[in-house]
């Protein structure tokens, strides 16, 4: 059954930078703010989200021809909630400390509209292969987004990156960066930088 729309490769590439879920589409802002005070929680979160997104996209794509529209959302939600529960339990079993740090933000993946929107936009219309590569691309994009914020926050806030010391011991940690205001400020400024860069590139291109 040929599916219309972008090919698997296009979907994959698009998801990473051109249609970056965080910077371009402003989806999944909550986790981007909540779990980015360090690289480790950010990467764990990105992994959990990727797991749920990939599973949900694949299942949705498999079921795309047998579901009526009004049942679709119901089934999406059920699917996502199930996989989130599974991810949550895995974290609790194998990364107990990290699961305590991430706290409610893992279950909150259920309402992360990035996932619903990928299911709606891509998986419910295209074949499993495309849906899969879309999910991987978008997950990478999301991961990049989280990592960029976490990099700034962890380096300025703790002088470390992935808990490895990168700034000299004398560096005065910017406590604000690991606290809530730092999350907003970092994302706001990075978003401004992203827009500025894109506007400049477009201006140059034309």
């Amino acid at each position: 059954m040929p599916s219309k729309g972008p090919t698997a490769t296009e979907r994959f590439i698009n998801g990473i930078i051109p249609e970056n879920p965080l910077y371009r589409n402003l989806l999944g802002l909550c986790p981007a703010l909540a779990v980015t005070n360090g690289m480790k929680p950010a990467l764990t979160m990105a992994g959990a989200t990727a797991f749920v997104l990939i599973c949900a996209n694949v299942i949705t794509s498999l079921l795309r021809n047998v579901l009526k529209p009004h049942l679709r959302i119901l089934v999406f939600t059920l699917t996502i909630a199930t996989f989130v529960t599974i991810a949550d339990r895995f974290l609790q079993a194998f990364m107990y400390d990290m699961s305590k740090i991430l706290g409610p933000y893992v279950p909150l993946i259920i309402v992360n509209c990035m996932i619903i929107s990928r299911c709606e936009v891509c998986a419910s219309k295209q074949s499993v292969g495309v849906a899969f590569s879309d999910a991987v691309g978008v997950s990478l994009g999301f991961c990049l987004g989280l990592a960029s914020i976490a990099t700034v926050r962890e380096i300025l806030g703790s002088g470390t990156w992935l808990e490895l010391r990168v700034l000299p011991e004398a560096w005065p940690n910017w406590g604000i960066m690991v606290l809530p205001p730092g999350a907003f400020l970092t994302l706001g400024l990075l978003l401004g930088g992203w827009n500025w860069y894109n506007a400049r590139r477009e201006a140059k291109a034309s």
Binding site: L29, C30, L191
Partner: protein, 231 residues
């Protein structure tokens, strides 16, 4: 007095100190998306408060009576099926699925109810209701309540329905305060000369950052009030 103090602690904490948006980062999407006009933002704030209360009621009921380890209803059914079994039944793995359906159906229900009986109210904030289904502030409220039921260190610390509702309503009010403030500021910003790349979400997040700094001033107010009330 101790009771009042605990209620004050929960409500001040949820509304101001650990504000849903500015401290816990939940409900960021409506906070960024529906904060262009004050009336809209206020409507959204009211709608969230309303739905979160209903969802809190339902999710507390389910969690307390059905899914927590040793929940009365489940134990009773288990007892009927397996007389004499000593096992503690724990259905908490179903919590997330239950919550999300509780939220979806309470939004539907609220929508129907309002449309039928309070058309004026429906007109005022009915349009926000569908947006709320996927709002993480509501789910977050349910999850926090769950934490205080299944995660309580002793039965005495477990939240009753009263505390769950106070938490939910205060959290909703805190959300409403934050989003209305933000909308006021954004209306003003429309008349300012914000750098182009920061327009929209960028400046909204920066303002949220400054608001979060300001709200940090409330840190410990719950503790101070508790001390005063217990004195």
């Amino acid at each position: 007095m101790e009771y009042i103090a605990s209620i004050v602690l929960i409500s001040v904490g949820a509304a101001l100190i650990n504000n849903f948006v500015l401290h816990y980062f939940v409900g960021i999407c409506p906070f960024v998306g529906v904060s262009r006009r004050v009336e809209m933002a206020f409507g959204m704030g009211c709608a969230v408060t309303f739905v979160i209360s209903i969802a809190a009621f339902l999710s507390w009921t389910f969690t307390y009576f059905v899914t927590r380890p040793g929940a009365p209803v489940t134990s009773w059914i288990w007892g009927m099926v397996n007389p004499g079994s000593e096992a503690v039944v724990d259905l908490s793995i179903l919590n997330y699925i239950i919550y999300i359906f509780v939220i979806a159906s309470s939004v539907q229900f609220v929508e129907m109810y309002l449309r039928k009986f309070f058309p004026a109210l429906f007109k005022a904030f009915g349009i926000f209701l569908p947006l709320i289904t996927t709002n993480c502030a509501i789910l977050f409220g349910c999850l926090e309540i769950m934490k205080h039921i299944t995660g309580a260190s002793s039965p005495a610390e477990m939240w009753g329905l009263d505390k769950a509702l106070v938490f939910a309503v205060s959290g909703g009010i805190g959300f409403a305060i934050a989003i209305t403030m933000m909308a006021g500021i954004r209306e003003e910003l429309d008349l300012c000369d914000v750098p182009k790349p920061l327009e929209g979400a960028g400046i909204t997040l920066l303002v949220a950052g400054i608001m979060a700094m300001a709200f940090m001033g409330f840190t410990g107010v719950d503790r101070g009030l508790e001390a005063l009330l217990l004195k």
